[in-house]
Symmetry: D2
């Protein structure tokens, strides 16, 4: 019953098999190999965009930090949600890669930001003139840190605000597959067609060993990306082993199958918890995360039964502590049902 | 006949098998797993040092840049050879990670630097006072970029110069296994016993998929390393797959067996080329690289036969162009003999 | 009637005279001169601290950024008020000088932060582990951006929280003289005796041409400051002309006389505005700034009479727009009375 | 007899008078004042260029570092002479401001670099591909660190090499007035007409208190300069006092008169030393610096007579130690003659 994070899971067998398959003979290093070429072609097909530039890296933090650094000057700023992964969980990587540019955070209860918040942040920054740093970019997370999903319409509204102010739009897609499995739309519809400039396309949390792709939908804005990746120590010499992971991830819709399973498990977990007296589920469960407020005693009881999960930040207006439960491609129905049974039983005992 | 680089090679089967073996169940992320613990224990055993701190990362550039940044202030400098990988082949990664500190290069024909050069650099820097940046560290490459190997005595002399001036000593061991296979001494003898403070322990060029370890022999100086690695996007969530590579690399002396084979192939290549009229081998072949001066026409003829290798930088006093030939754990005797046969034949035809 | 900022004022005649007096003969450059030595002695006397290290620079932004960078690692963070000058008005200088470290802001309505906020920020950061940046420092502004002044007791409480968490404490004293003139205590009592580690001692806003001093009360923590100042291009070659300004600023209590005058003018302005119907003064007027909520029409009427001042940020719970009025050593009683007369007259006309 | 540096000199009386004249009333801060506007107009007239953008800062290091940072990416490089001030005497400021970009140094005996060296550096960098940092800029010093002066023809040849390779050209004009006084050409002829993109126009070494201007001849490339200056803490609030210095510096050709005097003093010093047996003057004395090789005993004797000067770096092929003698607008004929008399007398005694 490990709901601590989707990155405690192992690797999809298909992806591991792809590594073995790629382990044949000498090939060009640093991306001059057939796997990397094919990875790019696959992503162009999946996103229905024959111009996109795609660069694999090993971690989501690297993908985000490189994407932001490529499109922001060191004296600029990036608008993001106050609980965005880039702001709270990447150890300052965006600031490091951007050379000191600022993250400007805006709040909300569901992890999403709005066009109006972008307008307001820009008005305040412009009012401060040369003394205030000026945002050059917006980053949104899909699915968000609260397990919610932006619709294409919501993304479009944000992208329009970006265009009004001359800002670039980045999407942190560490859980992009989960968002897409929820939306059921095309990958294009919620990214470049909606106005996203650059996407961190995550695979690690959803079955890869260590692989993400930074995708620029307009290759002209990717200037310097390759040099930045190199000088960040993020350019693999044996690149084929990054690219092969991504190919296997996309092949036969492995990515969407993995994500759908994880989402279903989260859905069942959320639905089940909602029926446990004294427990409240805090957000619409749309991707693979469930946030639930529950008594401390119940948390303790569940952990005593072997369940793993993190306590989350306090939520204003919610008296009970909040926990986060994350499902993955490997989460089993039996683990979910066992967790729910323990939760129900513990509550009954307490009553 | 691929002698372009040791990173065009695939992965040792033992290492690939270790990835599969590690792909079982949910485990703690970011290094809170048994593989990472065991990797650390293995390195402590190999280096006969029960205190060392070891941190895996995916690339040699990341290992070097993190090691230098941990021990140098942003307003300091690092003394290195003018053709050191950190100075010429890492796209500015050391400067990026160090926050703008300088590399101060010193020349030599065999890739090694000397204590006297360190003394001279320090004298000049101190003479410049506050206006000149002050070195805080020295980095040497083992084996060097010219395929030569520092003896323990040579390392000790450099370390003594470092102590005289209050400098830390880093060893870039991207090809440490090849150096050690040549020296035949213990790993300790040419590192911490000789005065090395921090080692980039390479595995990727010698059979791993993507794995290096940064090893601090005094864990007290490693302060901040983990935070630096995180904010560099170099901390893997599924860390077990980095650690498992390193374990397999060390197990049953795979690393030394791989390196010995590569060295033998280089030795044979060097010996063979030395007998080809008009070709001269430029350095003592000690590790897995051969540098040879040869006529342009011979280079062309060899490439026409399917050989891959890079032209190298011009060498003062050598009229002919210089090529670099790199062997790996996968280089076959037949490839080496075929290359030598083509070289001999081409020369005879030309005569 | 220029109340836009204290830096629209000219230079105190005493300070200009000091520049002329220093313009004699050749002297050592970069601080190897008698003026710089005397400046240090004067500051040691004023702060009753014979060990302090004091370094002059030309701007307040440079003073703050250098102070923070000296005591924070690039992967760390600094806790400050959300409207602190370092956070909103220095164009990202702290992040630049610190090499990408973060400012973590906390809110309040009067510009002050509290020990409890520091405790909470630390708890959250520690809970985030390696993924969250860890604060290493706190900076407070004296007088604050809302014209309020920390008492020695308040500073001491903050310093105690800092000690609890191993944080250094910086005071941005761009308006330190105004704060001290209000408090009437010794310079020591509200700085090092209360636990401040480093002070940006401002002079420019209070009569200097361009001069601030960064004062470390424990010279041991100032390691590297001089090299950082040099590489920031903040080390003057003709340093005597920075030091001479500071000497004249301190001599005969010029700094306190200038600040007292400015404070009195602000007090009168605040008292007068409080009697104007429809105007409310928002904070205790303790230094040389007055914040007043007033109808848009009154703002317009006052500007039409030649008054200069800035509109300020919106204040939650206050319906009217807010203006900031700043007085300086040169503000005349007649300007203040004229402003108040215009304000009263405009209100009467509107009634 | 102070020949240590031109920055040991005081301030030209005309410039000090201008500070007093500017000390009237309240004016807009941060450059929104009449002096700054007039300064810009004066520079446009002097350089016969009605579009140039000019920004005052207080130090030469700041001027250079900001100029380089504005036109170089953090992952790029700047080609310069190996003894360039930016490379050896600015404490790493260029690397800091550029965010870690590299200085690539090339050698020569007279302080000048050539188009051929630029071509060679570019060929090598391009050959290294993504692994080698790519130069984006060239910086030359006028007058050079060896007191020599580039002719307009020499500058043009360098600018042509820059255009061939897509590089921007910066001129470090800390001693630009001395170079111009030697050349006798127009300021335009040796800067923008010859292909210079950005000039650090020095005044401090030649009579100002602390004032330099960064001049972009194409204002379109200055994007971001103002924000960079702000976040470097280099934007003065009371800007009129920087601008007023520059106006007075240009008015009535004060800058050229000061420089001509300094050059004449250096010329006389060089001519005189050339006649002292055992002393050799190493470079053509073209600006205000004399480099002379002389016996250690003579150096000691001169210092015993009260002469101040620095020993310089060793020069290959010159057996004697080398000293640098710098003259300024304040150097008196009597000091020069006294120095020469002491030199001659000391030699005679030694004979």
């Amino acid at each position: 019953m490990n709901f601590a994070s989707d990155n405690t899971a192992p690797v999809s067998p298909e992806i591991l098999a792809a590594l073995s398959a790629a382990n044949e003979g000498s090939v060009g290093s640093y991306g001059a190999d057939g796997w990397t070429e094919r990875m790019r072609a696959e992503l162009r097909a999946v996103f229905a965009h024959d111009q996109l530039a795609a660069y694999p890296v090993a971690t989501g933090t690297a993908a985000n930090a490189l994407a932001l650094a490529t499109l922001t000057t060191p004296y600029g700023a990036v608008i993001c949600h106050q609980e965005a992964h880039v702001a709270t969980d990447e150890g300052g990587a965006p600031e490091f890669y951007m050379g000191g540019a600022k993250l400007m955070t805006v709040p909300s209860t569901d992890g999403k930001i709005t066009a109006a918040q972008i307008d307001a942040a820009m008005a305040r920054a412009i009012d401060g003139g040369i003394h205030h740093v000026l945002p050059e970019m917006v980053t949104i997370t899909q699915a968000t840190e609260w397990g919610t999903v932006y619709s294409p319409t919501e993304v479009r509204a944000i992208a329009e605000a970006c265009r009004r102010h001359g800002l670039k739009l980045h999407m942190d897609g560490a859980r992009f597959a989960n968002a897409l499995a929820h939306l059921g739309c095309s990958p294009a519809a919620v990214t470049w067609e909606a106005g996203v400039d650059v996407l961190s396309f995550g695979a690690t949390k959803n079955g890869a060993l260590a692989a993400e792709a930074v995708i620029f939908f307009d290759p002209k804005v990717a200037t310097g990306f390759e040099r930045r990746r190199k000088r960040a120590g993020q350019l693999w010499s044996k690149m084929r082993f990054l690219s092969a992971q991504l190919i296997a991830y996309l092949e036969n819709d492995l990515w969407l199958r993995n994500a759908s399973h994880a989402n279903q498990m989260a859905q069942r977990l959320g639905d089940g918890l909602a029926t446990v007296p004294g427990v409240s589920v805090l957000q619409h469960v749309q991707a693979n995360e469930v946030f639930a407020a529950m008594p401390e005693a119940l948390m303790t009881a569940l952990r005593a039964q072997g369940a793993h999960f993190y306590g989350w930040i306090d939520v204003p207006g919610v008296d009970l502590p909040v926990v986060r439960l994350v499902t993955s491609f490997q989460t089993s129905s039996s683990d979910v049902e066992a967790f729910l049974a323990h939760a129900g039983a513990a509550k009954r005992l307490a009553a």
